[in-house]
């Protein structure tokens, strides 16, 4: 009787040790994985949205499940940061080579007043044929920007352009399962770095 009890206790202890190690190794693995990303970790479910793409169709974020999504909020009257970022995203796509078909770049305008479907049709594919521009009603844009904590506001400074926009300028990376995983601020725009992260999450 005593032997059996000792045996059971031993087995239980061994199991606990095994589980303990499993947890430790898992944590180490997770921490190591996080530290290996170029972008800033940013984990939460990617909020769903329904907007109009540059060909006039209504699209949802869910339409891109199974692909990694690179999301950027900008506007076409932006002469500096937006073209630079779109150019970078094109470089990322080229760097990915074969994997580029598993990635979708989405440009969401935060200036729906001026950036209608026609404007985006001329602007977005110019950077890369596969990129999709999204617009919508001011309410729809307001909602998606709010959901993504993407700040934007009109700036009237007496410029001949009419008005300019201050806007969140980071690129968001959503994984194929629809989870927001990484964020790239303007000082983390190395195409190789971003492509490396994408390969890891695909």
């Amino acid at each position: 009787m005593k032997r059996k009890r000792i045996f059971y206790i031993l087995v239980t202890v061994l199991c606990l040790i095994a589980i303990g190690w499993g947890v430790i190794l898992y944590q180490v693995f997770m921490i190591k994985s996080k530290a290996d990303y170029y972008g800033n970790s940013y984990e939460r479910e990617a909020p769903e949205f329904t907007l109009t793409d540059h060909s006039g169709s209504r699209v949802e974020l869910a339409d891109f499940k199974g692909k990694a999504v690179l999301l950027f909020f900008g506007y076409t009257h932006c002469p500096d940061i937006c073209p630079v970022t779109m150019g970078t995203l094109n470089s990322v796509t080229n760097t990915l080579g074969e994997d580029k078909d598993k990635v979708q770049v989405l440009f969401i305008t935060i200036d729906p007043e001026r950036d209608d479907q026609e404007k985006l049709k001329n602007y977005v594919p110019f950077f890369n044929e596969s990129f999709i521009g999204l617009t919508g009603t001011p309410e729809e844009i307001d909602k998606v920007a709010d959901d993504y904590n993407a700040f934007y506001e009109k700036e009237d400074m007496g410029s001949e352009t009419g008005y300019l926009m201050g806007h969140a300028s980071s690129v968001y990376l959503i994984n194929p399962k629809g989870k927001l995983v990484l964020r790239y601020p303007q000082n983390r725009m190395d195409p190789e770095g971003i492509a490396g992260d994408i390969r890891q999450i695909l």
Binding site: P79, E155, M157, S159, Q186
Partner: protein, 135 residues
């Protein structure tokens, strides 16, 4: 390409190519004041645009990008001022056509002391890898 007058030298002026339907773009360059008197850039014009304004891009700690319009740019004696992506640039507004990679744009810069200096700016394509490495 560099253009000099009255101590002011304009180097590596370039304009970003525009997607179709776009009416604004950015002009960048390096302004060097080789003289011993401070000078100031007060106006810019380009043959391809109705007007030109000087803007400074900034991105705050929360990642929000904004532009601030400034009336002039100081060109201190003996120093260089670089207008580059993500920083200061000259916004060309009301483009007459779409500048394409390989085109050349004629710009005129007006300095308080050095006067009007003409310069030629090359148009760089978005997909040119060289444009972000200009100094």
């Amino acid at each position: 390409m560099s253009y000099a007058q009255g101590g002011i030298e304009i180097r590596d002026a370039w304009v970003r190519e525009t997607p179709p339907g776009t009416s604004i773009t950015a002009l960048y360059m390096t302004i060097t004041n080789n003289g011993d008197e401070d000078d100031t850039l007060t106006a810019v014009s380009a043959d391809v645009s109705k007007s030109a304004e000087i803007h400074v891009t900034s991105v705050n700690s929360e990642g929000v990008a904004k532009m601030e319009m400034v009336k002039s740019v100081d060109a201190p004696a003996g120093k260089s001022v670089v207008l580059e992506p993500g920083g200061m640039h000259i916004m060309l507004i009301g483009l007459a056509g779409q500048p394409k990679s390989g085109d050349v744009v004629e710009v005129e810069l007006e300095f308080e002391k050095a006067g009007k200096i003409k310069s030629l700016a090359k148009v760089q394509g978005i997909k040119d890898n060289t444009q972000e490495h200009q100094h």
